[in-house]
């Protein structure tokens, strides 16, 4: 048994962190949010270079051939640096293609994905709940309906969209009949939109359909979002500890006040076991273990609560300066706030976990997709 990250994974994590230190430092993030397109492009192309968009693409298609756990490492780093990118679509599309694409679909799309000539957003919210009337149906290769809160990186060219029977479709963003309504969330580092589809021509992944793969994709999305939130939490704790060293009140560092110390200790105590939980859930999805989808629910629900606590506590340790725009601490706070709701808030996810374990008769807020209990 070897529970934890391998030496390779740690090295990969460090290298990726270095890349973000260089291309997504706090000052760069601010520049990108202020509209510096060159900085955004530099970050994106650096990510392409290190293979981040093709991380789970099999090597025969030019990708790194890694797994969900490695993708989670990447997302943890993205959250840590509040990097203004969203790789959810590219990771999910890679996995969806690998598992349910035809050979020719794999050959075409995975290559494009790795090269960066196609980049993906994804619309999953309607498959989790009918928030804002979200539902998507397909007839004869055309999609109709709405998906609220799709992950739409501004520069993405395509979207992965499931329909109400669990089939997966590739939609080109400039297709006729597709209307995007930009959403503005508190988190300005990632782009979201609502899709309205009217007879949109789309390409179906050849072997997709049915709830199982879709459930796995949702679970993977949840794990990646959790990783993002955990990375953000870890960084917020570190910033709080550092600030508590530097900031003095009443003539001493505030970190020597028991109340501040204990708050930091509580953050650490909550965060630390979440790493193991996240690794295991990711690993389970890689190995397609029987409880993988439930494990993802646990990771998402737990990390959503832990990160919410950390976001608040770390801001409290910073006092007034934490509340300013200038320090930028709020980017992490808001990223965590959005991660909490993406893929389902913790209450809905816990109800789903109870149902998936056979304890209850389906959540009252049932999955929009009918799905047999395992």
């Amino acid at each position: 048994m070897d529970f934890g990250l391998s030496d390779d994974q740690r090295a990969f994590q460090d290298a990726f962190a270095q890349c973000l230190t260089d291309f997504s430092s706090t000052s760069t993030v601010r520049r990108i949010l202020d509209g510096d397109a060159a900085a955004a492009r530099a970050l994106q192309s650096r990510l392409n270079e290190v293979g981040a968009t093709g991380i789970v693409v099999p090597p025969e298609h030019g990708g790194l051939g890694l797994g969900v756990l490695d993708a989670a490492i990447v997302f943890e780093m993205l959250g840590r640096y509040v990097a203004p990118v969203d790789l959810t679509g590219s990771v999910l599309t890679s996995i969806a293609l690998s598992r349910s694409g035809s050979e020719s679909q794999k050959a075409v799309w995975l290559r494009k994905l790795v090269e960066g000539t196609a980049s993906f957003g994804t619309a999953l919210t309607h498959a989790i709940s009918d928030r804002e009337g979200g539902i998507v149906s397909s007839v004869a290769g055309r999609l109709n309906g709405r998906s609220f809160m799709a992950a739409c990186p501004p520069d993405s060219t395509h979207l992965l969209v499931p329909d109400s029977l669990g089939a997966l479709w590739i939609v080109t963003r400039d297709s006729p009949g597709l209307r995007e309504r930009q959403l503005v969330t508190v988190d300005r580092t990632r782009g979201f939109c609502t899709l309205e589809m009217e007879d949109v021509v789309a390409e179906r992944l050849a072997h997709s359909g049915g709830g199982e793969l879709l459930s796995e994709l949702i679970a993977i999305a949840r794990v990646l979002i959790s990783a993002d939130a955990l990375g953000a939490s870890q960084r917020m704790l570190e910033m709080a500890v550092a600030y508590a060293h530097d900031r003095k009140q009443f003539g001493v560092p505030i970190g020597s006040f028991q109340a501040v110390k204990h708050l930091c200790a509580e953050m650490a105590a909550e965060i630390e076991p979440c790493h193991a939980l996240l690794w295991f859930a990711s690993h389970s999805l890689d190995q397609r273990l029987p409880d993988a989808v439930v494990s993802a629910c646990h990771a998402k629900a737990r990390i959503a609560d832990v990160s919410q606590f950390v976001a608040r506590a770390a801001t409290e340790v910073h006092g007034g300066i934490g509340f300013t725009d200038e320090l930028g601490l709020h980017w992490w706070f808001k990223r965590i706030a959005v991660d909490r709701q993406l893929g389902g808030g913790p209450e809905l996810i816990r109800a789903e976990a109870a149902w998936r374990q056979g304890w209850t008769d389906g959540p009252r807020h049932a999955l929009a997709l009918s799905e047999g209990r395992r």
């Binding site: 503005v184 300013t324 709701q341």
Partner: protein, 398 residues
């Protein structure tokens, strides 16, 4: 226990409601953040003339001159709140009317009272508060803005932070270290600084909410006449605490929370997800009722405080806990609203699909700011433990 109102109180409420019904359209809209407009001044003067602000300020200082009557005060605050007229809409220069005026009445000279109070009540003078500094937050008395005396004026240099409305204010009441030799608390003076004076630079301070409701104020050799000193030199700490007493009362006011709570109930009973109203999710509803019980306790606690005050008794602990509990409750209320809205809950003002113009998110962050600022939760706990429970003042190792 007697919760009935006297005929006088009932008729006061009645006249108040009639006044509001007749004049509500004159109130500036909530979204209007400009303070110095003619419209606002007229509205404020209308309130003043009818005794709904400056009610107990003697008429020789431009007030309404009524005898203090807490029931009337409460009726005013409740009825305006119920009509959706927030504090910010009620008074353009909140800090002047609610903090500076009472402070001047207590500590000002006769001349200062006559000079500053009437125009403040009439909305002609907008005030801001210059207390906090980058190096003096929780430890406010560590402030380092200095004022030396030269001839007949102070010359003030330093930096203030968290100064709300400084960019629109005419004057700032300000804490300045004028006696550098004195011990920490004893060297501070309370000085009224004209914002138009040379050497003042106001820079907006953007917060996490994305708005700039606060400022930084830089003072460089700002000259202020000596007669702008309120109270004795070196006694500013005492004067400032009087003013803060009036501010603290306003934070964590449960009537504001009650309005928000009603909005949340409205939201949860009207919105549906997956065919169920939000309130039909028992986990959300359990949280909702939990907050309702807590809110009810805090509202009734206010009634208890009011009774204490009317009887001239010191409310003690039940007053000391108001801010800590009230701000935390507000925060949790916003957090619940966001959770029930799910993905919709993280939308920001101006976005498609956003509810209440993004107010829940804005409150969620702003309430956290209030937990941090205005006397942090930690300071509040120290106060409760030390003043309320008589626990030891000093903290020790471990």
């Amino acid at each position: 226990m007697d919760l009935t109102l006297t005929p006088d109180e009932l008729s006061f409420r009645q006249s108040l409601r009639e006044f509001i019904a007749a004049h509500r359209h004159l109130a500036p809209p909530e979204s209007d953040t400009r303070l110095g407009t003619e419209e606002r001044r007229l509205w404020q003067q209308l309130l003043l003339t009818n005794g709904f602000l400056g009610r107990t300020v003697p008429s020789r200082y431009g007030g309404y001159g009524a005898k203090p009557n807490l029931m009337e005060q409460r009726a005013i605050s409740e009825e305006f709140a119920a009509a959706g007229i927030t504090d910010r809409m009620l008074v353009a220069n909140r800090q002047g009317v609610s903090m500076l005026v009472p402070t001047l009445l207590e500590y000002g000279t006769e001349e200062q009272k006559q000079r500053w109070i009437p125009p403040t009540l009439r909305g002609e003078l907008i005030w801001c508060q210059g207390y906090s500094e980058p190096g003096a937050g929780s430890d406010l008395a560590a402030l380092s803005t200095r004022g030396r005396v030269e001839e007949d004026h102070f010359v003030i240099t330093g930096q203030k932070i968290w100064t709300s409305e400084a960019h629109q204010a005419d004057m700032m009441f300000c804490l300045v270290r004028t006696e550098p030799e004195a011990e920490k608390h004893g060297g501070i003076s309370f000085i009224l600084v004209p914002m138009s004076a040379a050497g003042i630079d106001v820079r907006p301070l953007k917060t996490m909410t994305g708005r700039s409701s606060f400022n930084e104020v830089f003072l460089t050799d700002v000259c202020v006449p000596l007669d702008h000193l309120v109270g004795a030199r070196g006694r500013g700490w005492e004067v400032a605490n009087e003013a803060l007493k009036h501010e603290r009362g306003a934070l964590g006011n449960p009537e504001v929370t009650q309005t928000r709570f009603q909005e949340l109930v409205e939201l949860m009973t009207s919105e549906k997800v997956n065919g169920c109203r939000l309130i039909d999710n028992p986990v959300y509803t359990d949280r909702l009722v939990k907050l309702q019980s807590w809110l009810m306790a805090l509202r009734l606690n206010s009634a208890r405080i009011l009774t204490c005050r009317m009887k001239g008794e010191e409310p003690g602990l039940c007053q000391l806990v108001v801010k800590l509990q009230g701000c935390e409750l507000n925060y949790q209320l916003s957090a619940l609203a966001i959770d029930v809205l799910g993905e919709v809950g993280v939308l920001d003002g101006g976005s498609d699909f956003v509810r209440a113009g993004g107010a829940w998110q804005n409150n969620y962050m702003f309430d956290l700011g209030l937990i941090i600022g205005g006397g942090t939760a930690q300071i509040q706990k120290n106060i409760i433990a030390e003043r309320g429970l008589g626990m030891p003042r000093r903290a020790h190792a471990v």
